[in-house]
């Protein structure tokens, strides 16, 4: 049986790993950096899509208290998308200073966002949508890949 919280939390950690690899590549001015950026960027935005298209609407319907939190999470997704697009320019021009300026901000934003989701929203999802978890995880996978 699938576990929504575990599935999405593992996805957070996978994005963290990719982020660390990207930072390492940019620090070393490695030619792989643009490729690693693309991988990280697409996986992170896929994660947002899984939540925005599948999880959040279902959770919003199932839980009367999740609405405000969902709105805040979507707003933070937008903030992260903006930072991501700025990072693309920094990677393309190999502007290390600009990249690390943006990456540090993205990292803290991303982690405090993840903490809130893992602590609250995913727990609520488990409580309200747990019985349908197999189906929901399958749907999320189909959005992403």
């Amino acid at each position: 049986m699938s576990d929504i919280k575990e599935f999405l939390t593992n996805d957070h950690r996978a994005c963290d790993e990719e982020f660390a690899l990207l930072e390492e590549a940019v620090a070393a001015k490695n030619s792989d950096a643009p490729k690693l950026y693309e991988k990280f960027s697409s996986d992170l935005t896929n994660h947002f899509s899984m939540e925005e298209i599948v999880l959040f609407p279902m959770l919003g319907q199932a839980s009367s208290v999740a609405g405000g939190a969902i709105k805040a999470m979507e707003m933070e997704h937008e903030q992260m998308r903006t930072l991501l697009s700025k990072m693309r320019k920094a990677v393309e021009s190999m502007d290390k200073e600009s990249f690390f300026s943006l990456s540090e901000t993205l990292m803290i934003l991303m982690q405090q966002h993840n903490m809130k989701e893992e602590q609250l929203l995913y727990t609520l999802a488990e409580q309200h949508l747990g019985e349908d978890a197999d189906h929901i995880v399958r749907q999320m996978r189909s959005v992403a890949y």
Binding site: E23, A72, M73, F100, S101, T105, M115, L120, T123, L124
Partner: protein
């Protein structure tokens, strides 16, 4: 289940944590001046009023202000709960704690008994208000993990040490020092350092280190039992202190071992982090780990010397461990808060976190702080240069305040000058 108080959508107003953060280094500067004007011999005795004034300018003025500022901000993030009336509660407790701490340190310094009595009431009110409001907020937590368990435990210790502290300070205020005064003072200080600050740092580190630095997680066994062992050690230490003092070292060894293991683990986790980029917060975590490792050994060994070196131990554990972690935390949280709140208001052309604080200034601040700390530790044995190290400490704290205020000013300047289109009407409410 009551979900009324759960919240990630309402970040507390930025002023709630910022006022605590911006004030903390000022108390450290004040402590530096106290040290500068102190008699070195008086400071080497932990029960001298001058030493108590210096200690509390640091422990309440700096540590508690940073910890409470961080807790007010982090509760919705780490635990998904919100403090009811967070703005009013944090503002009122800030005023009470500010006035109370000033009253306490100047009351002790100038031996003004009435002021001490008033300070004990103000501090008691400020601490109890904020601590109970935070503990109350946890009633709606939907998922309890190791970090949350640690936060709740540390707040319970905070509550107990507040009650003891109010009693101790009021005793000075009415000029009635009872036979149990030293025993209570001992319990107050050990529970404050290890029960409140120590457990809180351990709990937050479980979450923060793996997430912010992509470091390996703390072992599940350690996460599960660390707080339990710390509580058991601290309670056992209390019982032995009350009824079998000569065996108290057994409990001390348990507490010291736990925190030493934590310090070594924190060092190893930070060193094995996947994000190879190093910044000032990494340096602070590493210095905290080193000072805590040495400090816990010194704390136990101190028992074999009739507790002659308690002040030296306090410099290592309080100054080296807690102070380092708090300073590192300030450098991470303040720029993020400024960026986050401005961005949420719709200001897009704002500096990123890294651009808000001058990196060179943070490195100088760190170097001066560590230099002063080592100087203070050495001054316990050779006191001639204590005044000089007090001055370097003051400079490091002025720099810390300057660095923090630089970021805070960016917030207010942006709000005032509105450099780009303000979309605040269309975005989330984050003050």
């Amino acid at each position: 289940m009551d979900f009324d108080g759960l919240s990630v959508d309402q970040a507390p107003p930025i002023t709630a944590p910022l006022r605590f953060f911006a004030t903390a280094p000022i108390f450290a500067i004040l402590a530096g001046f106290f040290i500068f004007f102190s008699d070195a011999a008086a400071l080497s005795s932990r029960f001298a009023p001058q030493a108590i004034a210096v200690t509390h300018a640091i422990t309440i003025g700096f540590f508690c202000f940073v910890m409470f500022g961080a807790l007010v901000q982090m509760l919705p993030v780490l635990a998904g709960v919100k403090i009811s009336n967070v703005d009013k509660v944090s503002k009122l407790s800030y005023i009470l704690l500010l006035a109370g701490t000033l009253g306490m340190v100047f009351g002790l310094w100038f031996e003004l008994q009435k002021l001490l009595l008033i300070a004990s009431l103000l501090l008691g009110g400020g601490f109890l208000l904020l601590i109970t409001a935070m503990l109350f907020a946890f009633r709606t937590v939907v998922h309890i993990n190791a970090s949350i368990r640690a936060m709740i435990t540390s707040l319970i210790f905070a509550l107990l040490i507040t009650l003891l502290g109010v009693h101790l300070l009021a005793s000075y205020g009415i000029g009635k020092i009872g036979a149990s005064h030293l025993l209570f003072a001992n319990i107050h200080s050990v529970w404050a350092i290890f029960g409140f600050a120590g457990i809180l740092i351990v709990g937050v580190a479980f979450h923060i280190l793996p997430m912010f630095y992509v470091a390996p997680k703390f072992e599940p066994f350690f996460q599960r039992f660390a707080v339990l062992i710390a509580v058991a050690g601290l309670v056992l230490w209390l019982i032995l202190n009350l009824f079998a003092d000569s065996y108290a070292i057994a409990a001390k060894s348990i507490i010291a071992s736990l925190f030493m293991v934590f310090a070594i683990m924190a060092w190893l986790k930070v060193s094995a982090r996947r994000r190879k980029v190093s910044d000032i917060t990494i340096w602070y975590w590493k210095s905290a780990a080193v000072f805590m490792t040495v400090g816990t050994v010194a704390w136990v060994v101190n028992d074999f010397f009739d507790e002659k070196y308690t002040v030296f131990v306090s410099i290592l554990v309080g100054g080296g461990f807690i102070f380092s972690v708090m300073s590192g935390m300030l450098y991470k949280i303040v720029p993020f808060l400024v960026w986050f709140h401005l961005n949420a208001k719709g200001y897009m052309s704002i500096p990123t976190m890294n651009d808000m604080i001058n990196k060179k200034a943070t490195k100088w601040q760190f170097a001066l702080f560590i230099f002063s700390l080592i100087g203070f530790a050495l001054s316990f044995f050779v006191s001639q240069f204590l005044g000089f190290f007090a001055l370097t400490f003051i400079v490091s704290m002025v720099l810390l305040e300057f660095n923090i205020i630089s970021a805070v000013l960016i917030y207010y300047k942006t709000i005032k000058t509105k450099p780009d289109f303000d979309m605040s009407m269309f975005t989330m409410k984050a003050e």
